[in-house]
């Protein structure tokens, strides 16, 4: 597909990532930059917004507009940007702690609001940056120094929640599968409205057991659907490791009026006509 003006390396900055060797996030960086090249958007037409965490360091490693925000607020920050600059392609990058714990509330409302942006969560089922505490997606029986005997808590179900809250595109990928991850990100960006891509991205330092994901993930055996009820039924049999696009909905995205109103008095006029 790539007879394009831009190559993946054009989206990479000269900042060297400080992730641990083997961290899944390196692959996510490769996938998003490849996807940007496939989309053939100029880096200056793209924005990468994040919260805080190892995963959230990603904007600095790209050549696009970037905003490394505060913990948990990536979606709120991205919403402000997108309504002010609807012309930009906005990627929102987060982690399972950033996005589902402290930022969990924003997730629900971003799905509802359906602003045209792509939300990518690099899920390693742990707080990597703060050295290994269990996160909302951590398995209840994960026994570690910081969760002795396991948390016993029921894990957060990101895909279920995205679907139930109104996200317009829902998918899961594995960071090590760069080809499919890239393709899915392209699809997610091209689909109007709020697109959610959960990427299983191993934390090799605090969850060395996640190296086994490489052999355990598998493509979903069922095709994607535009029917939320079918998608919901499919999720009921989800083992958490099947990958691919689950749902592509038809909701009209949120319309931002900022630029219209600022630029065209006629639009304002029309809106206030009685």
């Amino acid at each position: 597909m790539n007879a394009n003006a831009f190559k993946a390396k054009d989206y990479k900055s000269d900042v060297t990532p400080i992730w641990c060797p083997g961290c899944g996030d390196y692959h996510v960086l490769m996938s998003i930059t490849k996807a940007m090249a496939d989309l053939n958007r100029d880096p200056k037409d793209m924005a990468v917004i994040s919260g805080i965490g190892c995963s959230s360091r990603i904007p600095a490693y790209t050549n696009c507009y970037g905003f490394h925000g505060v913990h948990g607020r990536s979606l709120a920050l991205a919403s402000g940007l997108k309504v002010s600059r609807p012309d930009l392609t906005v990627l929102v990058m987060s982690g399972d702690g950033d996005g589902y714990s402290i930022g969990g509330n924003h997730f629900l409302h971003a799905c509802r609001r359906n602003i045209d942006m792509t939300y990518i969560v690099m899920d390693n089922r742990v707080y990597g940056m703060t050295k290994g505490q269990p996160s909302p997606t951590t398995e209840p029986d994960w026994d570690s120094a910081l969760s002795p005997g396991g948390t016993g808590l029921s894990p957060f179900q990101p895909l279920v929640i995205a679907l139930a809250s109104g996200a317009n595109f829902v998918a899961r990928e594995f960071s090590g599968d760069i080809k499919n991850t890239t393709k899915t990100i392209v699809e997610a960006v091209n689909h109007p409205g709020f697109s959610f891509v959960e990427i299983l991205s191993p934390c090799v330092t605090f969850r060395p057991d996640e190296r086994a994901w490489k052999g355990a993930v598998h493509r979903a055996s069922v095709d994607e659907t535009d029917d939320p009820a079918r998608a919901a039924r499919r999720i009921l049999t989800d083992d958490g490791l099947n990958t691919g696009i689950l749902y592509r909905g038809k909701r009209a995205p949120y319309q931002a009026h900022v630029k219209d109103e600022a630029g065209d008095a006629g639009i304002l006029d029309a809106r206030f006509k009685v």
Partner: protein, 396 residues
């Protein structure tokens, strides 16, 4: 902290540990029943140690890891108001995220004890020691204590519970990121019996009890709101005397006295440093060097910042010609917070001390002893400015 060589107080086990681990040991000894914590650098070693102690069966508490600091403080508040002793710890962004509930907790008279590791607020992002995070919470109604060393931190956690439960206000203790939080020093860990003797079990005045039949948080009329602040003022007004009393009692038990204001070689001083936190340690060494070089220098260290021990400050500075306030924080548009507070404490008194507000170490830049020695020499004769003076970081 002042050692009392005259006492033969029993010593506990002297162990090498970081400031953050000393906080966790202090919390263990205070026996909180509920401990909600959300991790954040550089507080995390406190959480790690508490978890380790808990899983070893040495720390019996209900530990929760809510989904954010805002939820931590909400959890802490209801646990406290329903009768539990509650401890938590945070830093910087976490503390600032709690801001709404800091006001609420103090207004609701929840006797929570919280440890904060002083770290620069974003943006820009940094992990450096700077006290703006906690100093900018000065109007929330929390008592604020500042620790200079791992030993201070352990001792102050225990005393903070005694104080909070006595005056019924929440207490926050802070120590500097890395310089104290991660620095390893010998720490005397008192025996559990000693701490139990000092800190009786928490008898909550408010608790969930149908016989009391009270509800908390209802909207009130203007006069009642007004009265709530007068009640808090009355409680704050008792802090200095109670903290002094408990400090002396702790001194008899351990040989270490923590007074609201701690003076070092100030009796005949011609110049004093006024500061809080880890800079006090640096300033103490500078005082000794200046004395050896013939300048009569001294140190005034605030252990208690809120309420400000204003009267003690006035008498400590009485007759002292020059004071150099060292602020490792900057309130944009005004100056160092301690500088402002000290000036207002001295305003309208006969005190003629020339007060210089020096912004030293803002953003965590290093403040070497030699720099303080140079500053004392440079500012001894200067006419003070009303505003703050930026001091270049070491090597700049």
């Amino acid at each position: 902290m002042k050692d009392m060589p005259g006492t033969d107080a029993p010593r506990g086990a002297l162990r090498l540990m970081s400031g953050n681990h000393a906080v966790a040991e202090g919390a263990r000894l205070a026996r909180p029943e509920v401990t909600p914590v959300y991790p954040i650098t550089p507080q995390t070693p406190i959480l790690e140690k508490l978890t380790e102690l808990q899983s070893a069966g040495e720390f019996v508490t209900e530990m929760l890891t809510p989904e954010s600091e805002h939820s931590v403080m909400a959890t802490a508040m209801t646990a406290s108001l329903s009768g539990a002793r509650v401890f938590t710890a945070t830093s910087s962004q976490g503390l600032m995220l709690m801001h709404e509930l800091l006001h609420y907790a103090a207004g609701a008279r929840a006797t929570i004890v919280m440890f904060n590791v002083n770290r620069t607020p974003a943006s820009p992002w940094g992990f450096w020691p700077d006290q703006l995070d906690s100093l900018s919470q000065r109007d929330t109604g929390w008592v604020q204590l500042y620790s200079e060393s791992p030993q201070d931190s352990l001792d102050l956690v225990i005393q903070a519970f005694r104080l909070a439960e006595r005056v019924r206000l929440p207490v926050m203790i802070s120590h500097d990121a890395f310089y104290v939080s991660h620095a390893v020093e010998p720490v005397d860990v008192p025996a559990q019996d000693l701490v139990d003797g000092f800190l009786p079990p928490f008898e909550a005045e408010f608790r969930l009890d149908p016989d009391i039949g009270r509800s908390i948080g209802a909207p009130v009329d203007q006069a009642t709101w007004n009265q709530s602040r007068r009640d808090m003022a009355e409680a704050m007004g008792r802090v200095i005397a109670e903290f002094t009393r408990f400090g002396a009692q702790w001194g008899r038990l351990t040989g270490r006295v923590h007074a609201p204001l701690q003076l070092y070689r100030t009796e005949d001083a011609e110049i004093v440093f006024v500061t809080l936190g880890s800079l006090a340690g640096t300033a103490r060494v500078a005082v000794d060097m200046l004395r050896r070089a013939g300048m009569r220098a001294g140190l005034v260290k605030l252990c208690l910042f809120r309420p400000l021990p204003a009267e003690a400050l006035r008498s400590a500075l009485d007759g002292v010609p020059v004071a150099l306030v060292l602020d490792r924080n900057y309130s944009v548009g005004t100056g160092g917070v301690l500088h402002q507070e000290l000036k207002s404490a001295l305003h309208g008194t006969a005190n003629a001390t020339r007060v210089h507000g020096l912004l030293t170490g803002v953003g965590g830049v290093d403040v070497p002893v030699e720099q303080l020695v140079d500053l004392a020499q440079e500012f001894r004769e200067r006419v003070p400015e009303n505003g703050p003076i930026w001091i270049d970081g070491h090597g700049r």
